[in-house]
Symmetry: C2
Subunit: 473 residues, 2 copies
């Protein structure tokens, strides 16, 4: 177990003792403990992954998932259930093939990066030019790249908190654009992942420009980005070994991915109405969409399951906090955070009623820490939450933490936030691959997540004061 | 470290001290120790997997591998290098698609079992009938199976010695035939593997009958076997979860695999000639072919690398044992043990000059034990070998062990055998999948294998006496 320094600055006159009644804290603690053996989050996640499966924004699975979510919220007895439209450019995957033609013929597994344009039908053929990092490509003379297929071989590193992802994923986001700028004809990257399986990791690349005022996307054209795919760690290793032989490597790949008009999906929202302040909401949730390569158990069916279960169990326990608990299942997070942006836009006039929020979007492994972004005045309630989370082996890492991609537009609009840190040691073995499936979820670990969310949400929704609107703007 | 009882029965008059000169034992021990940091086996394996890659019997890769092996033996300075023809029916993989059509549409990853016939072009569509084991299918009334697609969901168990494979792979071998006998239209099995990746494990199924006298194969026709494929553990779990909902599951799959005439490949053989008994041979090796889904690093490029390196390092150290060390790289082990059978047939008149033999065909993890199948008279030399293997943390498990599939025809023909037991804990995560690649091999582990093979081979080839021809017949 990791040990944490619990260090709070009490500048408010409110002492922790006065924040909640003993009876309320007792109820929450009892529910926390019983949640540890409750299977609801697991069952919801199993239901979404089995009965719907993959659900890329704009796909048939997306539409099925919206139906599933509305039905599931109702079945669980949420007080209000509704949907809000989310419109985005629809991207579809097509044929995906790759091979080394010479000096040593090999079939290579490739997957298009989200937003990649298609190659010509007969594919793109060219010599590989190798860069160890995106920075090396950025610094390279265009003459080295012109007419070639760029290959970035940097390998993502494994960390418990997942920080290797941010260190590596610039290659996924920018290689296609930088390659086009330097006259290259195609791009492949080593998957942003920590596993050693042959299935590459997909994920979004830069494929459009967003108007900062209207939010409208202008998609990049084939002169601005080259077709781009990811290859697996073992296949990247193979190319690196081949490059050591100092012979030109002729590579060919075909991608059928392309944009296909606009699509309107839905954010699906369920609420447990607050007892005395129904218009003030604690916003939690996960994103309902997934990549198309798997059933998206960890990314992010489990986040939907954890937060739906937490709200449902609070309701069933008769805890009835003052404020409303709103569970938002965001649409199309993966290919541009469209659901989160649409929600922030649609609710901009009631933003100051969004008291605090957090998203579960990092799998279903055990939570080992939590963080907040709240005003100093609210730190006593955070301290009380920390006290109730300690029996779950969850420490507090400070008032400056992450809270999930879909929360970021709300944070920018002024909402206070919190984050639950799950053990991410193995998360990037599976992230955005065909291996993101239900068998990866341990019932006792996802239940521990629910117990933690119950504590945070039940106390935040009951707390009389504010968490500090506007502090993150 | 596992502890072993070293228990030998000395019924010969030869004491261990008289078997080898001190100088000889000193040389072998020195070479054993230096081999632990030698990269030759790793380099050979890297060369075969990088410069050739996958090499299914009858494929372009098969022909390239034969060229590679002849050139590599010569480059390493083996005293004799030659090839011997191996003819077999050529099987080719084709298109592979599968999906659940209802009640919950899902794409499923499927791979044809080796020897499977193709489906019609539009695929096979039918209701799934689920059996937990091959025995349940065998015991089932034909009326349950008629017109349906059988699904065997038994999961292979993980063991250090790999014994879960033998316990599980009857499903792979027999499901297509039993399904056809009961009027089924297709068969899918849970992969025979211990991993949780989405790529299924291929492997041979019963696809022909062999004439016991001539060895000639008569292939089974479409009335005798149904098209059959493996699905991954996660997809098998998904089907099992779906089946719990008690709705008929309509499944569709397409396989393009088929037989395509005969092909003649080659066993590739390299020898280090014995000093005083050149016609007596210690036979070692691995199989040169691999499945087509990966570069076959563990199955069995590493076995080729380990045994080629052991013989080469013995030669380079100037040890010069009395007998010849023959390294055989067998053709088409995977789809019917054709190279091994052809070798046994071609050499049947000199079988009694095959003093002892063993194959490396279980990956490249650390060897933790060895075994023998020799006459009691030869146990003192086995005891001496055990003494020299002990510094490598290798124990002796007895005079009744396994020695590799390609050795079995020679064992049947009377040859004494030995076996090196590698740690197989993770082997069946990778076996027969796209993940069987070079990055899975640890340089220090494959080097430890070479050190162990050097000890066994150098002492067996120097030993004056016999290991007991005919005892295994």
């Amino acid at each position: 177990m990791v040990k944490f320094l619990l260090c709070f600055i009490f500048i408010s006159n409110v002492s922790a003792q006065e924040l909640f009644t003993d009876q309320y804290l007792e109820k929450v603690s009892t529910l926390r403990d019983s949640a540890l053996t409750n299977s609801l989050a697991y069952d919801i996640t199993e239901s979404l992954t089995t009965e719907v499966g993959s659900r890329l924004g704009g796909s048939k699975g997306d539409a099925l998932a919206v139906e599933w979510a509305v039905a599931k919220f109702k079945e669980l007895g949420f007080d209000k259930v509704w949907t809000e439209p989310v419109t985005f450019p629809k991207w579809v995957r097509g044929v995906e093939t790759a091979e080394v033609l010479s000096p040593y013929p090999h079939e290579i597994k490739i997957t298009a990066l989200g937003g990649s344009l298609s190659t010509p039908k007969k594919g793109i053929k060219g010599e590989i030019v190798h860069f160890k990092t995106i920075q090396e490509l950025q610094d390279a003379d265009a003459s080295l790249v012109k007419g070639k297929i760029t290959f970035i071989s940097n390998r993502m590193q494994r960390y418990k908190n997942g920080k290797g992802y941010g260190m590596a994923n610039g290659a996924r986001y920018m290689t296609a654009k930088i390659t086009a700028e330097k006259g290259g004809i195609g791009a492949i990257i080593r998957s942003i992942g920590t596993d050693s399986n042959r299935d590459p990791h997909t994920g979004a690349m830069k494929s459009g420009n967003r108007d900062p005022d209207t939010g409208k996307i202008t998609l990049l054209n084939k002169h601005e980005i080259v077709p781009a795919g990811a290859i697996s760690n073992p296949d990247a290793d193979l190319l690196v070994n081949m490059l050591k032989r100092n012979k030109p490597i002729i590579f060919k790949f075909t991608l059928g991915s392309h944009w296909d008009g606009e699509y309107t999906s839905q954010n699906v929202i369920g609420e447990i109405t607050g007892k005395t302040k129904p218009n003030e909401v604690v916003v939690i949730g996960g994103h309902l969409d997934s990549w198309d390569l798997a059933t998206g158990a960890l990314d992010d069916a489990s986040g939907c399951g954890i937060t739906m279960a937490a709200a449902k169990l609070i309701k069933d326990a008769g805890i009835q906090p003052r404020r409303t608990i709103r569970v938002v299942l965001w649409a199309n997070e993966e290919n541009g955070l469209f659901g989160a942006r649409a929600y922030a836009k649609a609710h901009k006039d009631e933003m100051n009623q969004h008291i605090i929020g957090g998203e579960s979007d990092f799998g279903a492994s055990t939570i080992y820490a939590f963080s907040s972004n709240v005003a100093n005045e609210a730190l006593p309630v955070i301290a009380k939450i920390a006290e109730l989370l300690q029996p779950l082996n969850i420490g507090y890492t400070g008032n400056n933490g992450r809270s999930g991609a879909d929360i970021s537009p709300l944070k920018k609009a002024g909402m206070a936030t919190f984050g639950m840190a799950q053990d991410g040691t193995n998360y990037f073995d599976l992230h955005h691959t065909p291996d993101d499936t239900m068998d990866k979820i341990a019932p006792e670990e996802i239940a521990q997540n629910v117990a933690a969310w119950i504590v945070f949400v039940a106390l935040a929704a009951e707390y009389k004061g504010d968490f500090g609107f506007g502090l993150n703007q």
